[in-house]
């Protein structure tokens, strides 16, 4: 198959423009690590609180580089069968029955036939290194902190040589290694051995200016005034002592909800009516409801 290798932006500025073209606001602190990961061909390790846009980086990067995104969602107990490949046993059994009916059972030939690509179920890691790909994909390994140490160990091996050995088929090696993005919500410490291999970036909650730009570009229906008020309120809310702070996606959902309600400004009533979009924890909602909303609102709107 003809290959068109990935073209990587020539500079940090070019990368910022490309990401901006996909309506993603990346400041230098994030654009530089992404650029370095691309140039050095190293995995990018993104850490930060839930809802700061880590997964989004992978999606946007794939779009900007005009390549596919392959996503592996991690969980405890994730194993090779789910992450790399599995033989399609039911289909193999059916095939055996069919051969039996045809009554030409040559054992050696059957085994050869049963273990071919047609019977292989390719999981994300294998798909990411397939030789038949036109160009290297972006491989998103999402929420690595949810996986257990066993899987982390396997991943370490995979990331160092980008090859998979299937006993029945042989070794499959990436012609061009994928762009790997690993994210972690930091619910546990990921092993240093893995992180050391990567370009590391901590994504904080966005500043007011950045979040305002995100709201304006993602919720075009919101007026300038509403976008400002929404952003200011969420920024203020994040400083309140809560179990779970609102992420960027909550801000965007809330802005969209207010647009749907035809609001141009926010007040205590509408905040109360829509608080469930910003805070997903009953104790948090209870603790903010009432006077505290007014206090936060007052501070946000000054």
């Amino acid at each position: 198959m003809s290959r068109a290798p990935l073209s990587i932006p020539a500079s940090v500025d070019a990368l910022q423009d490309a990401l901006g073209g996909e309506r993603y606001v990346a400041e230098r602190g994030l654009a530089v690590p992404i650029y370095l990961a691309l140039r050095l061909r190293r995995p990018l390790f993104l850490e930060g609180e839930a809802g700061v846009g880590k997964t989004e980086v992978a999606k946007v990067l794939a779009a900007a580089l005009k390549t596919t995104l392959i996503r592996l969602q991690c969980y405890e107990g994730l194993d090779v069968n789910q992450a790399v490949y599995e033989w399609n046993y039911p289909r193999q059994l059916l095939e055996i029955r069919m051969i039996e009916v045809a009554a030409d059972l040559d054992r050696a030939a059957v085994t050869r036939e049963l273990f071919t690509e047609a019977f292989l179920i390719k999981r994300p890691l294998l798909r990411a290194i397939e030789e038949t790909r036109e160009r290297a994909p972006v491989l998103l390994i999402d929420e690595i902190d949810r996986a257990d140490e066993e899987f982390e160990g396997y991943l370490l091996e995979f990331l160092s040589d980008f090859q998979v050995t299937i006993p029945e088929l042989g070794t499959i090696r990436a012609a061009e290694p994928p762009i790997v993005i690993v994210t972690s919500n930091r619910t546990r410490e990921v092993h240093d051995a893995l992180k050391r291999r990567c370009v590391y970036s901590w994504i904080p909650y966005p500043s007011f200016e950045k979040e305002l730009r995100i709201v304006s570009s993602k919720v075009p229906g919101a007026s300038e005034r509403l976008a400002r008020q929404v952003t200011a309120f969420v920024q203020e809310l994040r400083t309140a002592d809560l179990y779970k702070a609102a992420g960027i996606s909550e801000t965007l959902d809330w802005a969209a909800a207010l647009v749907a309600l035809d609001r141009d400004v926010i007040d205590a009533d509408v905040v109360h009516e829509t608080l469930g979009i910003l805070l997903k924890n009953q104790e948090d909602i209870d603790s903010v409801r009432g006077e505290r909303v007014s206090t936060i609102l007052a501070r946000a709107l000054t």
């Binding site: 530089v32 190293r42 033989w87 059994l93 066993e150 619910t187 901590w202």
Partner: protein, 379 residues
């Protein structure tokens, strides 16, 4: 511009400051500065940070070192490090992620405080009474007890993980069944089975080090090191008016050296207690990171609380929902005349699974036994 030697020097400064800089990343960093350029200080910072740091808690340290090293004054002053390796002392400190205080484990013990007394007793063969209250121990007895505690075996209950493993019993493993039998033309000859793997539950220790607990605190931190040694996942926190994570320090050393160091460094050691607020900090800041896999939570406190009992009750209830078992160890419970009448203890009683003494060796052994055999619940 003489950048490469300076980058190498900066790498050494970071290492000296306690950041784990990988040699390969250093090579990458030199390459990367060529690509990104060094005209912008912000870009240089972002470049070096992305490659040389891989832990969130090292970020403040990195920024401090970067500011000192590449102090901006003028155009091309990058090749002028402002301090040489000899003057690095200011950054040779580590910060625990949650701790506002600087703790330094590696530094040798210099002053002759209580720990010197412990050291003297290190080789003694003091017979320690298992029922004598810790508060009445002599220094030599404390040392002996400490050693006994380090040897104590801890098995804090078992949880089923979500990872499967082969087994002789359990459910039939369909994938393995097919895999094994396809080769035999689809005849079912072997019946492989699988069960969920089991793993010990993590332990989270929250130890009160306020004034009223003074006689027990040191002993309890030894208890924490013993715990860290024998159970795999232990997270330790101490609190008085505020909460500090001490897991790394407790795990890093054998015990008492770090304890006496912590006593000096945590300025609220021996102060008043605000248990509710400490638990609130735990629930908001730490729970998400350390309360995985249904841990057993041990709170060690006498319940003398200057804070709001209602807050304490609320936060305990929340904590209870996220652990498999909530144990409150109260040294005062060892005394026959003690009744849990303090407001704090009253608020707590409704939310805890076990209320046990922790004033002498026997009570700690009982605890270990209880955790080994007692039923842990859900999660």
């Amino acid at each position: 511009m003489n950048l490469v030697p300076n980058l190498l020097l900066f790498g050494r400064v970071l290492r000296a400051a306690g950041v784990h800089v990988h040699r390969e990343r250093m090579v990458d960093a030199i390459q990367a500065t060529e690509w990104v350029g060094v005209k912008s200080r912000a870009d240089l910072r972002a470049t070096l940070c992305a490659l040389l740091v891989h832990r969130h808690e090292d970020l403040p340290l990195f920024n401090e070192a970067f500011d000192l090293f590449f102090r901006a004054h003028g155009s091309s002053e990058l090749d002028m490090p402002l301090f040489s390796l000899g003057e690095r002392a200011r950054v040779v400190t580590r910060r625990d992620a949650g701790a506002p205080h600087r703790l330094d484990v590696e530094e040798p013990e210099s002053d002759a405080d209580a720990s010197a007394a412990f050291a003297l007793g290190a080789y003694s063969t003091v017979e320690v009474s298992r029922t004598k209250d810790f508060a009445d121990f002599t220094a030599a007895e404390l040392e002996e007890a400490r050693r006994l505690l380090l040897r104590l075996r801890w098995e804090p209950g078992i949880r089923r993980t979500r990872r499967w493993q082969r087994s002789l019993r359990g459910d039939i493993d369909m994938a393995a069944l097919l895999r094994k039998n396809v080769m035999r033309g689809g005849e079912l000859i072997e019946l492989p089975r699988r069960v969920r793997r089991e793993a010990p539950r993590p332990i989270v220790l929250l130890a009160d080090v306020s004034g009223s607990m003074d006689r027990y605190s040191r002993m309890l931190l030894s208890f924490a090191s013993g715990l860290t040694r024998s159970a795999r996942h232990v997270e330790s926190f101490v609190f008085a008016t505020r909460l500090t994570r001490v897991s790394r320090y407790v795990a890093a050393t054998g015990g008492h050296r770090v304890v006496s160091r912590m006593v000096r460094e945590l300025h609220d050691w021996g102060g008043g207690t605000r248990i509710g607020e400490a638990l609130r900090t735990f629930n908001t800041t730490w729970a998400r990171r350390v309360m995985r896999h249904g841990p057993v939570v041990l709170i060690v406190s006498d319940g003398w609380d200057r804070g709001d009992p209602e807050l304490l009750g609320r936060e305990l209830a929340r904590l209870r929902r996220r652990c498999s078992r909530l144990v409150w160890l109260n040294p005062l419970l060892g005394s026959a005349s003690y009744e849990p009448l303090t407001r704090g203890m009253q608020a707590a009683l409704g939310h805890i699974d076990d209320f046990m003494p922790a004033h002498n060796l026997k009570s700690i052994e009982d605890l270990a036994r209880q955790l080994r055999h007692g039923n842990t619940q859900h999660l």
